[in-house]
Symmetry: C2
Amino acid sequence: MVELKRAGLYESLHRGAIVLSDPTGRVEKSLGHPAMPTYLRSAAKPLQALPVIETGAADRFQLTDSELAVMSGSLNGEDFQVKAVRSILKKANLTEDLLDCGVHRPSHRPTAKAMLSQGIKPLPIHNNCAGKHAAMLVLCAHLGFDPKGYTEKGHPVQNLILETVAQLCDYPAEQIGQGIDGCGVPVFRVPLHSLAGAYARLAAPARANLTPERIQAVERLMKACLAHPEMIAGHERLCTRLMQAAPNRFLAKTGTEGSYALAIPELGLGVALQIEDGAMRALAPCVSEILHQLGILDHQLLDGELKDLHKPVLKNHRSQEVAQLSPVFDLDLT
Amino acid sequence: MVELKRAGLYESLHRGAIVLSDPTGRVEKSLGHPAMPTYLRSAAKPLQALPVIETGAADRFQLTDSELAVMSGSLNGEDFQVKAVRSILKKANLTEDLLDCGVHRPSHRPTAKAMLSQGIKPLPIHNNCAGKHAAMLVLCAHLGFDPKGYTEKGHPVQNLILETVAQLCDYPAEQIGQGIDGCGVPVFRVPLHSLAGAYARLAAPARANLTPERIQAVERLMKACLAHPEMIAGHERLCTRLMQAAPNRFLAKTGTEGSYALAIPELGLGVALQIEDGAMRALAPCVSEILHQLGILDHQLLDGELKDLHKPVLKNHRSQEVAQLSPVFDLDLT
């Protein structure tokens, strides 16, 4: 998929698999094994957020588009994102201490640095999964579930989410592998083509075998995400930068451990990607190249503002340019 | 080579190649392609340090064993290591400002933290390559080379080092690929089996086709490294922990970008390893498993004090154990 060259000579490489699926689940193209087992990790977030709309919670609590987007994002802990998550909790009459996602410093370095210099300790609300956890708590509030233990496998909110993920992936819930994610909630493992299928259904729900209510909910969620790329990741982050480079044309969502997914409405296409070794550094070259081969990102973008994503140059401790990552695959789409 | 499982289910894996060589360069065993191109990176350090002994610089400047070891190490920036590098420079009448390796925070977190809290800025001498750079400067001082530009390809000290590396690897100097290393000096690319051969020659120089002077120099360097594992990396670091777990039995030296090498005198063996995707997290499981299969590290060590190296458990932001890395190869040595 992606090769690292030092002084123009091969040093290392990242293998992986890519699947392009239509909304019926038909694999239109694949590189590598289309059934490669893939933990969705954070690529599940839009699927996990969907019940907030479907259950009526979004209407009841008058959630805005940017608040729906922040539920689907892997956040930077930036102030505007923290504000959005706080607003969601407030609207549902929930308190911040219910967030059980653990604590890490904001992914956004300037924010982390500013907090450090001001002696402000990071809170669960700065966690990159705070929006997803807020969504789960909102579901508990709306459906009358005790929020206690909401992160545990078997909690009613997790059962609802598992069912939704299974349906969107068109993969039996009982066959979905489950582990624990970085933030403590269940994480789902499906064949890579099922992730691609799920994102194709996000891209073109009307062409999938879904209920009218679900089609409507998906359309609302996608509209929200596409309108608010800054909520999907944040400043300087891959997903946000790609979405902002071609506004309103696709949803780009990173997982962790090398998974990634794209929903591209204009092509009615879902794309799923898994870097075999889990390396996050391979994602930017890989995803930007896929979007280029699909005709979404042109040469001007790849050689210009997205150059550091498409072919990142690595510098050493003396700031010399010593190596470069480049995508080395051809989806053969012509 | 190494598999990551989340909740017992496959999530990702690291491929790679391993070569076991004898001192004549005969490949005794290999997994993956024995000629996989491999940038030696820091695994070259003992080879780069060898001319310090061979040219007589070590004798002239009365360098101690621990100072020879620190020249071969990828340092932690710990106080005792900084002190050793300063001592080397002083003995050769060199000043610290000549070190042109760039600056990064000490790899040893407690040291980095202490410096930060005391407002002490990291210097080139805290760089993990400071020992290697001191060796290069010592060679300049001894041989009358102008230290100006000592990091550049083509500088006499780099020519001398290239020649030494080529001879130890038994690979033509003109065919060695060269790039720039993390610290600015030339870095060498050879087939993986050549790295294994070089370390076999470190392990059992008398059984290789080397001059008596070189045999003596290698024996002195190996004795120094084996006696001072704390200088090869540092506290909590892979190489040092492995060497201390089986004292005086092997030299373990990490590269970067997934390369690693072992010199095992009692077996007359060199081992070279390259993780294809460059992931450093795969090294500890891989190297400890190789040493186990070679009969050097027993079950008690692997299940005890080295357990976190052999099968590292990954925790999430809530400190839950969520995944584990394990070696999954068999060298079939029986």
